[in-house]
């Protein structure tokens, strides 16, 4: 009878059956990529990868990353009352914050399944499983991609939490206690990994859409080096400039119309996108990918976002509006703040009550509408097709210019030229009447670049990192509405430049240590 107690599930696979075919590998690879777009194994929700938290709002990557990088800044406030969500803009979060728990868990989850893939895709295992030829070559390439994704997820940890739980393919699965890695060591690890995978990755622009190539690794290196001084105390501006240049030289082009970068068919913007997280209204459904962007920002005007209903949540502050020559988008077309319902008059933008969606700057940047006018995938218009651009060419231009100004070499003429490429598109393939939009060498200052980054990259998850690099996130030097929970804005403790390690993780793993001040 004893044998009869060894039962196996009917539909689930054992590791051996999972990895018996190349298709099995590709489905696990899809999961590792999809860890940034989906929240679990059921779309849009129902079998979450992360347990004990709200699947739609606390476990997704894009939504969590947005909350951490944009909500504490001048670019975003939220009307809702979900748990501690207001702590973000108020710059007063604690180590028990559930959103932070989710944002710690998500990258580590993605890393953990990536490590498993690396363990299962070694040459020995492939040959033992009789996977050869083109299939084996593609799997080898994918190992480089998985290591890129692991480095990217670790970069998120580095940027938000300043250190991380550290696990690689050498660690197993169980209930052991992983080690912690310091910020400098993590920086070095990410750097070495990104350099080491160059040989495995496909050359820039040669792999199928959705998968990463060498340029993605360079772009992440450029971003990593630009912030190296914050991360480690040692500047790497020359490296930042060089890697940005490498990406630029790889043949990427700015798309002529800025607004099309954020529409439902933005998978056509391959020439500008170096790496985007793919979302689809039918096949990659989640309440926390770009579906979140189109819903959270819309209210009665949801038709202009291409969705069937608004969530009446997120807006920007007047500080973001003030960075534009006029917030209506007539001159600088990147100012997408006007819809049929909400305008940009001073009284509309001013936020009297954060909980009142009617106040604030209504951001109509992401739209689930196709530029070619065809219907989107989801006939019900609930879920968005918009892909989330992680690295775009214009960021590389901006990194070049900033790294140059911060002593990273290169030349001012190129820097100015790169900035003006961005401005030229922003003003509608011109510099506007009388070339008002064109920057001159006297404009080539760090402040201009910070402002330009906000104008070009707002709501793409850069602002907090930028403000920290400029020393403006917590200090009283730059105030915006409701900074620190005060209507007129106030400085806060500098500990808020780094998020706390969630207390529940410290409990589960005594090897982890808390950040200073928490």
């Amino acid at each position: 009878c004893a044998k009869k107690l060894d039962l196996l599930p009917q539909n689930d696979l054992t590791p051996a059956t999972t990895y018996s075919t190349a298709e099995g590998y590709k489905s696990v690879l899809a999961k590792i990529y999809g860890g940034l777009a989906s929240t679990g194994n059921t779309g849009p929700a129902g079998s979450s990868d992360i347990q004990g938290l709200d699947e739609g709002s606390q476990s997704p990557f894009i939504r969590g990353f947005f909350n951490c990088e944009e909500l504490p800044t001048d670019e975003a406030v939220v009307a809702w009352n979900d748990q501690t969500i207001h702590d973000f803009h108020n710059l007063k979060w604690s180590s028990s914050d559930p959103f932070l728990r989710g944002m710690y868990a998500r990258p580590i989850y993605n890393i953990t399944i990536g490590n498993e893939y690396l363990r299962e895709s070694t040459d020995e295992k492939l040959s033992a499983r009789n996977i050869t030829g083109a299939d084996a070559d593609d799997i080898r390439k994918s190992r480089g991609e998985v290591r890129f994704l692991r480095a990217f997820n670790y970069w998120v940890m580095l940027d938000l939490f300043g250190k991380s739980t550290f696990i690689t393919e050498d660690d197993g699965i169980g209930t052991y206690l992983p080690k912690e890695i310091s910020r400098t060591d993590l920086f070095n690890y990410i750097e070495s990994e990104l350099k080491a995978i160059d040989a495995d990755l496909a050359p820039a622009k040669t792999i199928e859409y959705g998968r990463v190539d060498q340029a993605a690794a360079w772009a992440l290196l450029a971003r990593l080096y630009l912030n190296a001084e914050v991360y480690t105390g040692t500047a790497h501006y020359a490296d930042a400039l060089n890697y940005a240049q490498k990406v630029i030289d790889a043949g990427y082009q700015l798309q002529p119309e800025y607004d099309k970068l954020f529409m439902a068919d933005n998978d056509k913007r391959k020439d500008e996108f170096i790496y985007a997280i793919n979302c689809d209204g039918l096949y990659t459904q989640s309440y926390g990918n770009t579906t979140f962007f189109v819903h959270c920002a819309s209210g009665d005007d949801h038709n202009e976002y291409g969705v069937s209903g608004g969530w009446y949540g997120y807006r920007g502050t007047s500080a973001l509006a003030n960075l534009f020559p006029d917030p209506t988008g007539v001159t600088d077309q990147r100012a997408m703040f006007t819809t049929s319902k909400y305008g940009t008059s001073a009284s509309q933008i001013a936020i009297g009550d954060i909980s009142d969606f009617n106040n604030g700057l209504h951001v109509n940047k992401y739209k689930n509408i196709r530029s070619d006018g065809l219907p989107t995938s989801d006939v019900q218009n609930n879920f968005a097709d918009v892909d989330f651009p992680v690295f775009r060419l214009s960021e590389m231009y901006l990194i070049y210019a900033e790294a140059h100004l911060r002593g990273g070499g290169g030349d001012a003429e190129t820097a100015l030229d790169y900035l003006n490429k961005i401005r030229f598109r922003a003003y509608g393939q011109s510099y506007g009447p009388g070339d008002v939009g064109k920057l001159t060498s006297s404009d080539l200052t760090l402040q201009t670049i910070l402002d330009e980054r906000a104008r070009e990259l707002y709501w793409e998850g850069h602002r907090r990192t930028d403000l920290i690099r400029y020393g403006l996130l917590t200090t009283s030097t730059y105030l915006w509405p409701w900074k620190g929970g005060v209507a007129s804005g106030t400085g806060v403790d500098s500990k808020y430049n780094i998020y706390p390690v969630p207390a529940s993780n410290l409990t589960a793993n005594p090897n982890l240590t808390q950040n200073t001040g928490y």
Binding site: A2, K4, L5, D6, L7, L8, P9, N11, D12, L13, T14, P15, T18, K26, S27, A30, G34, N41, T42, G43, Q51, G52, S57, N81, D82, Q83, K92, W93, S94, S96, P98, Y104, T112, E116, I173, G174, T175, P178, E208, G210, N278, D280, L282, T284, Q285, D300, N303, G309, G310, Y312, S355, P375, D378, V379, Q380, S504, N505, T507, A508, N509
Partner: protein
């Protein structure tokens, strides 16, 4: 002359009645009586408390009769694990309730028969839905994340009580009229023979069997009407108008004012109805030749008080209990078949009726019945600019929810077993019993939402079919050996057995279809399949098995000392080879103090001290394959990733703990059974302590160590302490008037004593008890040193002058100048400290009157309805008007303050469950039949300070959302024996 057979002394006050009449008298002090009987009378009946009633043919001269002292209830046989035992010989904590003591009135589900009858047993119905289920807890439960439900055994077959799609409650497939008795096994010495499933107690249900003799028939019929009692206190149309108009005047913004309607609708009146119920049962029992049998048929048709809700049950049962080979082989065949048909109402209508704007009409005159079936719905512009799009997140018309959804199911269930009990011809002390059992349940149904319903208009309605089967088979072989060693004045009996049980579920998944010919214009090939509902796997077949060896020894020495020792060895397929086997021992002893010290006094009729200790396990409530590394394919098409032009489904590695095993509970119990004055006062007192270790808990694991961040592993300890006291009395017992009064009280305290593998003084516990409103808000914790689900809240600050809570102002408990999560404190718990049950019955001649009530003390509830009562809920930011509770008038809060302790309320209560009045008409139809008529009121009233609808809540979390109100039910029944 009536005397005691034992000592020959006369018995005074015995009742003497002419059989079948009211004519009678009582015996005098010398035991004599005289009676003028009618000429056609043939028999008299003589009865006296504590003695067996005797019948005597009427003779002409002096009649003498000697009464035998009845053995009292101590000789009643109680069903226990794998056998029966005399009540007086029990060593464990077992309470048996027989049919005559069941809750009266209409009970759709068997467990409700026990409500308030057993100390330490908590039966809480989930609400008032027709055929709905209950939460059952014995001594508070010993688990956290694993199941806290007791094991239920019907006629020797441990049955499936977990859910089945299409069934509101699997216990409702059993007809309460077929039940003879229910035994509640509470301590480990009573339950340990059920091993790895026994930690939360066991309920053994025994159905009625036939006895040798003439075939007797019974027919009973009950008609009932359930009416809504209290509804939730919400604002009326006038109040909403005043609030909106005042707000518009103050802010100068007329957005909401313009949305006001002209109607005065009481939405809660709209959704409820009087629930009629009809229950008819007929049974025959007796023997045909040498074959004892019982057969029954039952049909129940019960409406719910929420419109459209209905439950129908057809049950049949057959038992055959023949004996062969000079009674050496006893066969016991029981088959119970049932079919239930449910019409589920969309219970979302209950919440919707509370929150829907009372200024709006039920039917939208403006839209001429075109949109949404004519029901008023909140609308907005659609893509074409037409004002016809139902607002996504708006409240839905409660009547539209009910009437535009057709959700029906059928559940067929067959429970059957055959027991062959063979007493060996050559060695009659030994008998072999084989028990083969089957529990087969199939649920299927259609959940169809009309194409014009506002909830699913975008997909053109929704049609969903579902089906699931569960099959559980059992094969037990046991040997019983009983021997009396007269020289040692000792009796013993020994049981050795082997048990094998297999549980298979067949899952069938189907996509949902639209009423439109083509649901997705982008994918015409999918025809009317609704996008995203395609299933990756159309079938699944989870299965688990259990193999056990068990043994028990009972020893009785000098009829004074009773000893029981038992052990069970369980092996379960839910765990890896290395952790599969567990041993569950138990020991118990009892000392009959009555026999020792009070043998010759009649004042003390029973006194027995019991001591018990045992180990039990728990493995329900976890996955079947949780110990195995495995990969899961994404469940539907909505979870895929795009590479190039193709989408790839996900293969996800699942979290697992290879070392998973069951949790174990060690229980110690000390009890005293007593009876005085011929057991006219009897009862028992028990103290217990349960310690659970290796709790199957879902706890945070070190990030990166596993594929999940919360993993079910064996970690944590819990302690449960308590006492139970039961008292049954018969204050009056005479020929015409008798009065029984029963009372039970139990106290239970559960404390989590550990939750971590790695101790951390700063650990604040695990979030539990999600609430409605906001997203992801939790109100409770599993925290060390506290009861499970303790509320974790902010301390509300109140205005000194008005006494009203101040919005958003809380005490800075850690005095760090910031009010954040660290300032939440542990405050009260949902489980009651004390549970009381009271039952009484008065019989006067042919009349009987019974009352039963139960009460909870020290239980608290989070009033989630009040916590959402804000201006924001009226002026909903998504551009519609909502309603809210009258609590808003108290607080005046603009925004919800979900985590305030203001909303945690004392929910202690007393509920009068039942009043019933019966009249025994007696013989009718020329003495061919006897008739009894009974009427009852159920859920008569509740006394509580709790401000919500009902302080009794079946959730463990104590979060009071919108429950299906429990109706007041009036019923009238006839019972005919012939």
């Amino acid at each position: 002359m009536v005397t005691d057979l034992k000592d020959g002394k006369p018995i005074a006050g015995a009742s003497v009645l002419v059989k079948g009449t009211n004519i009678g008298t009582q015996t005098k002090a010398d035991g004599s009586f005289s009676l003028n009987a009618p000429s056609n009378a043939t028999t008299i009946v003589i009865s006296y408390v504590g003695y067996t009633t005797q019948e005597l043919l009427i003779g002409s001269g002096g009649m003498n009769v000697s009464l035998v002292q009845s053995a009292s209830t101590l000789n009643d046989v109680v069903v226990v694990a794998y056998g029966t035992r005399k009540k007086g010989d029990l060593t464990g904590s077992v309470t048996s309730v027989t049919a005559k003591d069941f809750q009266k009135g209409v009970n759709n589900s068997s467990e409700q028969l026990l409500q308030g009858k057993v100390a330490g047993l908590q039966v809480t119905s989930g609400g008032g839905s027709a055929g709905g289920g209950s939460k059952i807890r014995i001594r508070g439960g010993a688990s956290l994340n694993a199941s806290n439900d007791p094991l239920i055994v019907i006629d020797g077959v441990p049955v499936e009580s977990n859910g089945l799609p299409g069934s509101a409650n699997l216990l409702n497939t059993i007809n309460p009229n077929d039940i003879e008795s229910m035994s509640v096994l509470k301590d480990a010495s009573a339950t340990a023979l059920y091993g790895s499933r026994a930690s939360n107690g066991v309920i053994i249900i025994t159905t009625k069997k036939g006895a040798k003799g003439k075939v007797k028939f019974n027919f009973n019929t009950t008609t009932s009407a359930g009416v809504v009692g209290k509804t939730v206190g919400v604002l009326n149309a006038g109040q909403i108008r005043t609030i909106i108009n005042n707000d518009a005047a103050a802010t100068g913004i007329n957005t909401y004012k313009d949305l006001l309607g002209d109607a005065n609708t009481n939405w809660q009146d709209q959704i409820y109805q009087t629930a009629m119920g009809y229950d008819n049962n007929i049974s025959a029992s007796g023997s045909i030749g040498n074959l004892p049998f019982r057969a029954s048929l039952g049909y129940l048709n019960q409406d719910g008080i929420l419109k459209t809700n209905n439950f129908k049950r057809l049950t049949s049962s057959l038992s055959l209990t023949p004996k062969f080979f000079d009674d050496h082989l006893a066969v016991n065949l029981v088959v119970k078949g049932s079919q239930t048909k449910n019409v589920f109402a969309d219970e979302g209508a209950i919440g919707s009726a509370i929150y829907f704007d009372p200024t709006q009409p039920v039917y939208d005159q403006k839209n001429e019945g075109y949109y949404y079936g004519g029901y008023f719905e909140w609308r907005q512009l659609n893509h074409q600019g037409v004002f016809d799009s139902a607002i996504d997140l708006a409240n839905r018309n409660p009547l539209g929810l009910l009437n535009l959804r057709n959700n029906t199911s059928t559940v067929n269930r067959l429970i059957g077993n055959i027991q062959l009990d063979y007493k060996l011809h050559f060695f009659p002390d030994l008998h072999v019993m084989v028990n083969l059992g089957l529990d087969d349940a199939k649920g299927s149904g259609n959940d169809n939402i009309d194409s014009v319903s506002a909830t699913n208009y975008k997909t053109g309605g929704r049609k969903t079919y579902y089906q699931q089967k569960k099959q559980n088979t059992l094969a037990d072989v046991s040997l019983f050996y009983a021997k009396e060693l007269k020289s040692l004045n000792t009796k013993f009996d020994l049981l050795v057995g082997h048990s094998y049980q297999d549980f298979v579920t067949d899952v069938f998944n189907y996509p949902s279809f639209s009423y439109r010919p083509i649901a997705d214009f982008n994918h015409p090939e999918k025809k009317d399949t609704i996008a995203g509902t395609e299933q990756t796997f159309y079938t699944d077949k989870p299965e688990y098995r259990l193999e056990s060896y068990l043994s028990r020894l009972n020893v009785t020495i000098a009829n004074k000392f009773l000893l029981t020792a038992s052990i069970r060895r369980d092996a379960s397929s839910k765990f890896s080879k290395d952790n599969r086997v567990g041993y569950f021992p138990a020991f118990a002893g009892a000392w009959k103090l009555k026999e020792e010290f009070f043998k010759n006094t009649t004042i003390v009729s029973d006194l027995k001290l019991r001591l018990g200790w045992g180990v039990t396990g728990q493995q329900d409530g976890i996955g079947y394959y949780s110990y195995l590394p495995r990969y899961t394919r994404s469940f539907n098409t909505g979870a895929q990733y795009q590479f190039g032009d193709a989408f790839y489904s996900y293969l996800r590695p699942e979290g697992y703990d290879a070392n998973l095993k069951w949790e174990t509970t060690t229980t110690s119990n000390i009890g005293l059974d007593f009876g005085f004055l011929n057991n006219r006062i009897s009862g028992s007192l028990d103290f217990y302590k349960k310690k659970t270790k290796d709790l199957l808990s879902q706890v945070p694991v070190a990030p990166g160590a596993n594929f999940v961040n919360l993993l079910t592993i064996n970690v944590g300890n819990m302690e449960v302490k308590g006492f139970e006291f039961t008292l049954n009395t018969t204050p009056v017992k005479g020929p015409n008037l008798s009065w029984d009064l029963g009372f039970n009280i139990s106290y239970n305290k559960s404390t989590i004593t550990n939750l971590l593998q790695n101790q951390d003084p700063n650990f604040k516990g695990i979030d539990v008890s999600g609430i409605g409103g906001g997203t992801g808000n939790n109100i409770g914790k599993f925290a060390v040193g506290y009861a499970p689900y303790i509320f974790n809240v902010y301390k509300q600050v109140y205005d000194k002058q008005t006494g009203k809570p101040i919005e958003g102002l809380y005490e800075d408990i850690n005095r760090d100048g910031i009010i954040n999560d660290d300032d939440r404190y542990y405050y009260k718990k949902p489980a009651p400290d004390v549970i009381l049950g009271i039952n009484t019955q008065v019989n006067y001649k042919q009349f009987s009157l019974g009352l039963s009530a139960h009460a909870y003390l020290g239980n608290y509830m989070y009033n989630n309805f009040n916590s959402g009562a804000t201006l924001r809920s009226i002026k909903n930011p998504i551009n519609f008007i909502g309603n809210t509770g009258v609590n808003y008038l108290e607080t005046g809060f603009s925004n919800a303050q979900f985590l305030s302790d203001y909303y945690v309320e004392n929910a202690s209560f007393l509920r009068l469950d039942n009043i019933n009045l019966g009249y025994n008409v007696g013989k009718i139809f020329n003495n061919k039949a006897s008739l009894r008529i009974a009427g009852s009121i159920q859920n008569v009233f509740v006394i509580s300070k709790y401000s919500g609808l009902d302080p009794e809540n079946a959730s463990d979390t104590g979060v009071d959302g919108n429950i299906y109100p429990r109706p007041h039910t009036y019923s009238l029944g006839l019972n005919l024996d012939f």
